[in-house]
């Protein structure tokens, strides 16, 4: 597996972390009603979307490099 393929695995793991963080922050907000948790939750959602955009950019940029 090349660095390109491993980076795609990494992007997927990072996206999963962002999704988990969003759920965690929303749960904390439901428990504590603290605005900082709500900000954290929406930031995690934003980060998740940003990771998807980056993933698309990465695949385009490294089109010519092979996966193995």
């Amino acid at each position: 597996m090349s660095l390109k393929a491993f980076h795609i695995v990494f992007i997927l793991a990072t996206f999963a972390l962002a999704a988990f963080l969003a759920v965690w922050f929303f749960q904390e907000y439901a428990r504590t009603q603290l605005n900082s948790h709500l900000v954290g939750a929406w930031s995690a959602v934003g980060s998740g979307l940003l990771i998807l955009v980056y993933g698309r950019f990465f695949l385009k940029k490294l089109k010519s490099i092979r996966y193995l």
């Binding site: 597996m1 090349s2 660095l3 390109k4 491993f6 980076h7 695995v9 990494f10 793991a13 990072t14 972390l17 988990f20 963080l21 965690w24 428990r31 504590t32 603290l34 900082s36 954290g40 980056y54 990465f58 940029k61 490294l62 490099i65 193995l68």
Partner: protein
């Protein structure tokens, strides 16, 4: 004698030697970290219900460190891609950025460690009565110790044996954390506590020996930090004296950058798992 397959791929594996080597090494690393993750899970599920510490770690700092490592993974892959596109100048910029990220990560981690190592539990005895104080050390001299009480604490087995701590709270139905108490990570503003040294029976900081949680926390994060240091040293060498190879054997140099990048991605991936397990769950 020339070393074979440093650039060309072997027919049997389809990989050049260094890439095969790093993947074998990473497989052994998976076993190492896998064993420690398993130890953490077993310690946690084996703990008395309600007694496993929560909210002890600084989530904003942990999140910041996670972001720093994610950025470093992007720069490390961009560094490799730059060399693939024969852009040595861009490689230097991305490789330098990766090294800066590694340094930032280690500095933040050292602040977190310092926070734990200056956090004390003090057991004092006045007459027949024991008291357990917990907080960050503000000052100490030969007569007294001054602590700033902390919102989050872990009792030692000695304090629990004296009837303090979460086991007693479980028995009295107080173990469920008050949401307000854990609502924000910043400790509540308390008045400083002064303890006379002559009354102190035991004083212990939040080092690994304090509690199983801290032992596994320091083991996992310490081992991870050692990997960050190791990776940074290799990348630092490639950034400095090792970069000469670009002029003599650019393809082999590019492969070296790829191999160091694979290791760095593994280190970052370990953190992606460590962060939620230690800081959030």
């Amino acid at each position: 004698m020339e070393i074979p397959y440093t650039v060309k791929e072997r027919k049997d594996t389809g990989l050049y030697n260094a890439k095969l080597g790093i993947w074998l090494f990473l497989a052994s690393e998976v076993m190492l970290f896998g064993a420690l993750f398993s130890a953490y899970i077993l310690l946690r599920v084996g703990a008395t219900p309600g007694t496993w510490p929560h909210g002890l770690l600084n989530v904003p700092l942990g999140t910041l460190n996670t972001i720093v490592l994610i950025i470093s993974s992007v720069t490390v892959v961009m560094a490799w891609a730059s060399l693939k596109m024969k852009q040595f100048g861009k490689w230097r910029m991305y490789q330098g950025a990766t090294l800066v990220c590694a340094l930032i990560f280690l500095v933040i981690k050292s602040f977190e460690y310092n926070d734990k190592l200056t956090h004390y539990e003090v057991i004092s005895k006045v007459g027949d009565k024991y008291q357990v104080h917990d907080g960050h050390l503000i000052s100490e001299d030969k007569d007294k110790v001054v602590l700033e009480p902390s919102a989050h604490r872990i009792y030692t087995s000695r304090a629990i044996a004296l009837g303090f701590g979460p086991v007693a709270e479980v028995a009295h139905g107080k173990a469920d954390h008050d949401p307000k108490a854990h609502a924000d990570h910043a400790p509540a503003k308390h008045e400083l506590v002064t303890i006379q040294r002559s009354t102190i029976e035991r004083m212990q900081n939040y080092a690994p020996k304090h509690h199983a949680y801290l032992a596994i926390y320091f083991t996992l994060t310490g081992l991870h930090a050692l990997h960050v240091i190791g990776g940074a040293l290799v990348m630092g060498y490639l950034f400095g004296p090792g970069a000469k190879m670009w002029k003599t054997d650019p393809e082999r140099f590019t492969n070296r950058i790829e191999v160091s990048g694979l290791f760095w991605h593994f280190v970052d991936l370990v953190w992606i798992f460590l962060f939620p397990i230690l800081y959030l769950l």
